[in-house]
Each structure stands twice: as C-alpha cells, then as structure tokens.
Symmetry: C2
Subunit: 193 residues, 2 copies
C-alpha cells in the first residue's frame, strides 16, 4: 500500500503500535488523554466509534497535513461493557465473568484528514469463547500483571490469554486491539477519495 500522507496514531497502546508496524506502516505516535466514558444510550459499536473519532479529532488539531488514526476497544458480555480493570480484584471479577462464556470484542476506529477535516469511522466485532477457567489460573495470570491495562482484563496474545480462548469468530487482530485487515482496506479507500 502506498501511503500518501504522514500517519499519526492517537493511541499509546503498545499492541496497536506493534500491529500497525507488523503491516509495514510508518507513523508517529501522539496519544490523547480523553476520558473513556461510555454512553449507555447508544450501542457498544457506536460508543467505540464515537470514542475513536473523538480521539482522532482531538489530535488532528495539532497537525496541518496528516491522517490521524483513532481507536477504541470495548469488551461486551451480555449487556455489560468491560473496560480496563480498576485493580486486581476488578480483574478477577472480569475474568470470572468471562470464564466458560462467549463475549464480543468491539473495536471502533476513525481516520481524520487534518487538512480537509474529512473523517470516517468503522467498527469490527469478534466473538471470543473462553474455556472454564480454574481460579488458580486466573490468579497466576493477574499476579503477572498483564491484565491491568487491557479491556476485559486479558490479552489474547498473552501466555495465559492464548490458552484461555478456545475459539473466535471474526478478526483475530481486532481482539488484540486493532482490526488490521479491515483497516488496510478502509485506509486505502480513504486515501483514494
């Protein structure tokens, strides 16, 4: 893919940075500190896209000519939205909720062209099934510290995360934090418009 403008990623997530590098993109990282508040009046996917667009818009003000990428990932179980755990007992609560069940990972992303203020948003949903987890495995995982900065308190790319998940339906990289295949297609389209 030929990249026509400077790319700016409005996220400090090490997973998102690694994923965009994986597909060979060159970009600047300029994270926002917007609060990740959910609006219970709108759907999870609308929440994720709205937050992604807010983040991208926020950073777009700082650049004259660039494309800014915003993203937001939410974990949804039944009607509850799981964000990042507040502490270790919150992580334990979340992982017990996810044990033996299927949840949905929703990532919204947004592109903003700084010069024209043109924008787009899209959303990808992946269903993720956990096997029933013994409390001992959950506790060992939390003790390692990895769950604390992740929506739903797990990373599918982690040591424990990899063996918690028995199947997914949809895009794998969406569960890591960024839907690479969908993004690649949408960025191509956005550039050519």
């Amino acid at each position: 893919m030929r990249i026509l403008k400077r790319l700016v990623l409005a996220s400090r997530s090490p997973r998102r940075i690694a994923l965009l590098k994986q597909i060979g993109l060159d970009f600047t990282v300029d994270p926002t500190d917007l609060p990740e508040d959910f609006d219970s009046q709108i759907s999870p996917s609308e929440n994720a896209m709205t937050l992604a667009l807010q983040k991208a818009m926020n950073i777009a003000e700082k650049f004259q000519d660039a494309i800014v990428i915003g993203a937001d990932t939410i974990v949804v179980l039944d009607n509850a939205l799981l964000g990042k755990p507040t502490d270790e007992s919150d992580a334990l609560r979340m992982l017990r909720l996810l044990s033996g069940r299927t949840h949905t990972v929703v990532t919204g992303f947004a592109l903003v062209d700084c010069a024209s203020r043109r924008s787009m948003t899209a959303c990808e949903e992946t269903r993720v099934t956990f096997r029933t987890l013994p409390d001992a495995e959950i506790s060992e995982y939390i003790a390692g510290g990895s769950p604390m900065d992740k929506a739903g308190a797990y990373g599918i790319q982690d040591d424990y995360g990899a063996v918690f998940v028995t199947r997914i339906e949809g895009c794998f990289y969406n569960v890591v934090g960024f839907p690479l295949s969908r993004f690649y297609v949408e960025l191509n389209r956005f550039q050519s418009q």
Copy 2:
C-alpha cells in the same frame, strides 16, 4: 501448568517453537525429516494426526524418559490439500486459489510418552476467509519470500497475511501452526493419566 517430564518438540517450524515459548513451556527441539505424504484415502484431519503421530513416534525412540510433541498442519480448499509451495509460481497458484474464498486449516498434534509408549492425538480445524486479493499484493508478498515454507503459501501472522484474512472461525493459533488452547488442555490431561 506444572510440567512433569522433559518435553521434546519434533518440529523445526519457527512458528511452533515461538508459540510453545509464548505459553511458557521449556522444551528441546529435535525435528524429524519424515516425508509429508498425504493419503488420499483418509480425511485431512486423519492425515494431519497420522503424520503428527509418525513424527512424534520417530523422535520418541531417541529418548528414555520424555514426552515428545508432533504436529502437522494442512490447508484444505474444497477437496484439495495445499502443502508448502514447491516454488514461487506454485505459491502464486495457491494464493490465487485462496483469494476471495474460505478454506480450512487443519492441525493434528500428537503426544508420545517415551517410557511407556503411551500416545494421544488430537486435531483442530479453523475456517479462514480471505478477501479478494489483487495480483499485485500477492506478487509483493511472494517477492518477500515469506510464503515459501508455509502450508497454503501464507502466514496469518505475516505483514501481508494479516491483511489478507478478513475473518476466522476457530482457534487463531491453529492457523499460525499450533492450537495452543487445545494443546494446553490435552497436555494437562495426558500428564495426569
């Protein structure tokens, strides 16, 4: 997971080695050079499990007290089995076949206990959907050399591979080359028997 015996991996695949390390396992690598012949009289999953067991049995003869892990991955489209491409034009042929279609990745694995000669085999299947690929993207991917040592001529963890795949159904790590979650459960069970 407590590992009770020395583990030996009968595979030189760098993906399998990295995946087993990802879940914290300590093991010796001792690859076989058995020919990967398919038997058209039996199903892809039986082929994969049979080959995995043959590889593990072959290496098990060299150890007194260890558990040997064998594995074999096959890509199936319609009724055709796609192994590793023989050359670049074969990789082009395979990727054109996979473009815009859904195929199945079958990984069989086997465990052999060297002391008792006890063994088990299991198999995991994942459905993988490619978007329609422009020939230019396929050619750039092949020029990079990555497809040549991979069944079906792609790696879902590669730069191009990641953006070829729009969705999967099943275990992601199975597509990389080893079904971590299923393996973790089966190894636990095999050890405790």
